[in-house]
């Protein structure tokens, strides 16, 4: 993967070109990655999806990215248990996928302890029922109703090894941000960055050093290039991992890790 050796600047054409190159590489990786199998959601009803975000292209790309990382040997041969945390989990499909495939195939992996948060009580209900059906045993999956990771910040400080976040990234008027029903799953305020920006410092606070990583969904409206600079100021590197065009947006899974 192409690497930056200094802080990328928005006005620095050379680095902008490098960022485009990273995007192209992420597109190629996404094309090569076989479609990850979705956990079964037959137990959910259309009424559930009136209130809870139904898995769509962004969810599918995120589980493809998890599959890609697991196939690449993520946390293989580690002995310490791994704590995973999903922010704004909705149906929690990405976390459930991670758990279902954690012990796949050829690698030894340690116990995975999963936590997930959401502001939407209906989402947590739905996620809990999915875990009961689709999670392998023995399961450790705990849910907390809170805003991002606000109630877990001290407890999980530097303890999260895998952080998953499919944020509300859609550009909307700022007034639409802050709900607790389905609109909370997409309404991102100006440039779709209102919630993402609040998560940046939490991600930095939670990630285990030096191996912790976060996987974050973005679209072009979010100005990922500038977002990468914000992370870099905190000692974190954000790079496109998988990228795919979907309907009217370019979805990217950004991987965030310690420099």
């Amino acid at each position: 993967m192409t690497e930056f050796h200094r802080l990328p600047s928005k006005h620095d054409e050379q680095h902008s070109e490098q960022w485009e190159k990273l995007n192209t590489e992420a597109e190629i990786r996404a094309k090569k990655e076989p479609t990850a199998p979705m956990p079964d959601l037959d137990h959910l009803t259309s009424d559930d999806f009136q209130h809870v975000y139904e898995p769509a292209s962004d969810t599918f790309l995120l589980i493809d990215a998890i599959q890609y990382e697991l196939r690449s040997g993520l946390f293989r041969d580690r002995l310490e248990p791994v704590i995973a945390l999903e922010l704004g989990c909705g149906t929690a499909v990405p976390s459930v996928f991670l758990r279902r495939h954690w012990q796949d195939v050829k690698y030894f992996r340690p116990t995975l302890l999963s936590f997930a948060t959401d502001v939407n009580p209906r989402a947590l209900e739905v996620a809990q029922s999915t875990v009961k059906i689709a999670d392998p045993h023995p399961h450790f999956f705990e849910f907390v109703r809170c805003d991002l990771a606000s109630s877990l910040l001290n407890g999980l400080h530097r303890r999260v090894s895998i952080l998953l976040f499919n944020p509300p990234y859609v550009s909307t008027p700022d007034e639409e941000v802050g709900g607790v029903d389905i609109e909370a799953s997409w309404a991102g305020g100006k440039n779709g960055r209102r919630v993402i920006d609040r998560a940046i410092s939490q991600i930095e606070h939670l990630l285990e050093k030096p191996y912790g990583m976060a996987y974050l969904v973005t679209v072009e409206d979010n100005n990922p290039f500038e977002l990468a600079q914000r992370f870099q100021q905190l000692g974190l590197k954000m790079r496109p991992l998988l990228r795919r065009k979907a309907f009217n947006e370019r979805l990217t899974i950004q991987k965030v890790e310690w420099i």
Binding site: L79, F115, E125, F143, R145
Partner: protein, 127 residues
């Protein structure tokens, strides 16, 4: 809500300096036995606050007397004490507080637990 989760939770009510550890007022407690994972327990122990575990178990014992009594401080050579390993694994991983509430130690603000999920959402005037 397992007690491991309780160990990681804090109250963020405005003006709270130390919203930890949260008190537990249980209404429904369920036990779901799972095989003791000794390695998991021994590697997670250094990553939690034992005083908070001890306090939580003492509070739950008022409601659920079958819970083991834990020592007030953790002995040094815990890996040799099989009974204590089993007891700690049991309280952290097999005990589920299904309903009840958590209480902020600084403000006494109650956070309801419903179907095993604590609701830590704050009102606008509490942030």
């Amino acid at each position: 809500m397992r007690l491991l989760t309780h160990n990681y939770l804090q109250s963020n009510v405005k003006g709270t300096e130390e919203g930890y550890p949260l008190g537990i007022v249980p209404e429904t407690v369920e036990i779901e036995k799972s095989p003791v994972d000794r390695e998991l327990l021994l590697s997670i122990l250094p990553k939690l606050n034992y005083d908070a575990v001890h306090q939580a178990v003492a509070q739950l014992r008022l409601h659920c007397s079958t819970l083991p009594k834990l020592p007030s401080t953790l002995p040094e050579n815990i890996s040799n004490d099989e009974n204590l390993v089993n007891d700690l694994y049991f309280v952290l991983f097999d005990v589920h507080v299904k309903n009840g509430c958590l209480v902020c130690p600084a403000t006494q603000r109650k956070f309801p637990i419903k179907d095993g999920i604590p609701n830590m959402i704050l009102h606008e005037d509490e942030i």
